[in-house]
């Protein structure tokens, strides 16, 4: 498979948008799906469907094996020690809520502090916010610098003896900053602070190694990884999953249920209450296979080259102001245009088939810091090409022409 021909693997690109070829630059929001993933969902429902982990009939056993195969695929993909460290959730949001809720319940008390950063997506702030009310904890924010980066020093500055957990993004969905996450984890661990990494943007674009990174929790959004919606992964060190209480109650997660009391199941069932997104989990296995076939290093290289090219052409365009110039930048190009609001940019670009996102990208804290109500954001995936970025630039010029005529 040649990375240059990768668009052909994605059926969505056979369609036209307003009579134009689709230039999809919204992968940080959600990625498109390769045919193998879409087909896997169809095949599962038409040939192999059954609920998992309960019945003993042929289909149930086969479905359970398929479901568990994906767990192993994910474990290997992120180099976790044990497949039981992989918990499926309905999304990265639920993965973070799971940790905030159970960790908060068991370990946090009034006056304790949670450290996050000004770069965080709302999904890595709002779940922690609930603990302000229920537990009386305080949330501190590490400062983002003028490049849209978070330095190790800015984290260190906000750590106090009361800091009980650090929750931090791997790759910013607005500035594209790839944080020195390994060093940050080392720092936090040296002060006995566990670390949750929001890996929504990290997992689709960077090679992951949980044992090397040594984080305590890592949240993954499957639909941003060429996988189905309605599915996330929580990686957590086994000791945490054993120590923390269950999150939701229901079928499948129990040991023994009696009128006078309940015991809970072993890992990973303890955290997977009710019927899970079975078809999505099985299809997500194909997303991992798809990435593995191309090689995540090759994808990284391809995206790095494209990001650099995108930065170059947008910097040459005098009307464009790029947001964030972090030391290490992932495939996100946020920008503003003089005199054109991001929503008008998005509408005008859409007319040319160029799909970008406009708004605060679920990062209001960061936008307030930047002094901007909204930005436009082009974000890349494996299927993008330099032609896509040239089209972006020429459609941006069209915006300028419309607004300055």
């Amino acid at each position: 498979m040649n990375i240059k021909d990768i668009k052909k693997e994605f059926p969505i690109f056979d369609n036209k948008v307003h009579n134009n070829d689709l230039v999809y630059l919204d992968s940080a929001n959600s990625s498109q799906k390769p045919k193998v993933v879409v087909d896997r969902i169809y095949d599962f429902y038409t040939k192999e469907f059954s609920n998992v982990g309960r019945s003993v009939h042929y289909l149930a056993v086969a479905a359970t094996n398929l479901y568990e195969n994906t767990r192993v695929l994910v474990q290997k993909y992120i180099n976790a020690k044990d497949p039981n460290e992989i918990v499926f959730t309905k999304g990265a949001t639920e993965a973070i809520n799971l940790v905030a809720n159970t960790f908060g319940q068991k370990y946090l008390k009034e006056g304790d502090e949670i450290l996050i950063t000004e770069l965080e997506h709302h999904s890595n702030y709002v779940p922690w916010h609930y603990l302000r009310k229920s537990k009386g904890v305080k949330i501190n924010f590490a400062d983002v610098d003028e490049n849209g980066d978070i330095s190790i020093e800015s984290i260190e500055k906000k750590i106090t003896p009361k800091t009980k957990i650090l929750a931090i993004t791997h790759l910013s969905n607005v500035t594209g900053a790839i944080l020195p996450i390994k060093e940050i984890i080392q720092l936090a661990h040296s002060k006995n602070i566990p670390v949750l990494v929001d890996g929504c943007q990290g997992a689709p674009h960077l090679k992951l190694d949980m044992q090397d990174l040594n984080c305590d929790f890592y949240a993954i959004s499957c639909h941003k990884m060429y996988g189905p919606t309605g599915l996330g992964v929580l990686y957590a060190k086994k000791k945490w999953l054993e120590e923390l209480p269950p999150y939701q109650g229901g079928g499948g997660m129990i040991g023994e249920v009696k009128k006078e009391g309940i015991t809970f199941g072993d890992l990973p069932n303890k955290y997977e209450a009710g019927t899970m997104a079975t078809a999505q989990v099985i299809a997500f296995g194909e997303s991992i296979n798809f990435i593995n076939k191309l090689g995540i290093e090759k994808i990284e290289e391809h995206e790095r080259e494209l990001t650099k090219y995108g930065e170059e052409i947008l910097r040459k365009n005098n009307s464009v102001k790029l947001i964030g110039s972090p030391k290490n930048k992932g495939s996100v190009l946020s920008f503003t245009l003089d005199g054109v609001h991001p929503h008008d940019i998005a509408t005008i670009l859409d007319e040319d088939g160029v799909a970008i996102r406009a708004g605060h990208h679920c990062c209001q804290i960061l936008h307030e810091k930047l002094g901007l109500a909204a930005t436009a954001r082009a974000s890349l995936g494996v299927y993008n090409t330099k032609d896509d970025l040239d089209q972006l630039n020429s459609s941006i010029n069209k915006c300028i022409k419309i607004f300055n005529s």
Partner: protein, 156 residues
Amino acid sequence: MDLKDLYQEIILDHGKNPRNLGKFENFNKDAKGHNPLCGDKVHVYLKVDENKKISDIKFEGHGCAISMASASIMTELMKDKDEKDVKELIEDFLKMIKDNPDLKSNLISEDDKTKLMSLSGVKKYPMRVKCATLPWHTLISAMTNKPGEVNTEKED
């Protein structure tokens, strides 16, 4: 779809140079509006006199060309209108944006109707309708002293 329908000259002009932008001292009614999905914000200030007439109207806010132009044109048309007429015009405008092909009201001149109809381009852009209607819902809120902020995600 044609971008020229959406970004007509009138819209671009009012978007870039909104009329009645700002706040004035002796307002007696006001309301805030917010579109949480895109961050557009508008704050409408009114002076309603003893005859229930809007003697002054201004707005503050930030947002896209459509929302700014809509607020700008709205404030121009509403000045010196009485409560009843304001209500009729708002209803007429919102119906036009939703269903009606044209404005029905006879309260404004043909020129003003043309100006207002320049906002009809959003009908083909469902995601942008709320940009055009936010200032109008906010004006209703100010006129009726409705407590709290207008939120586009809570409108029906």
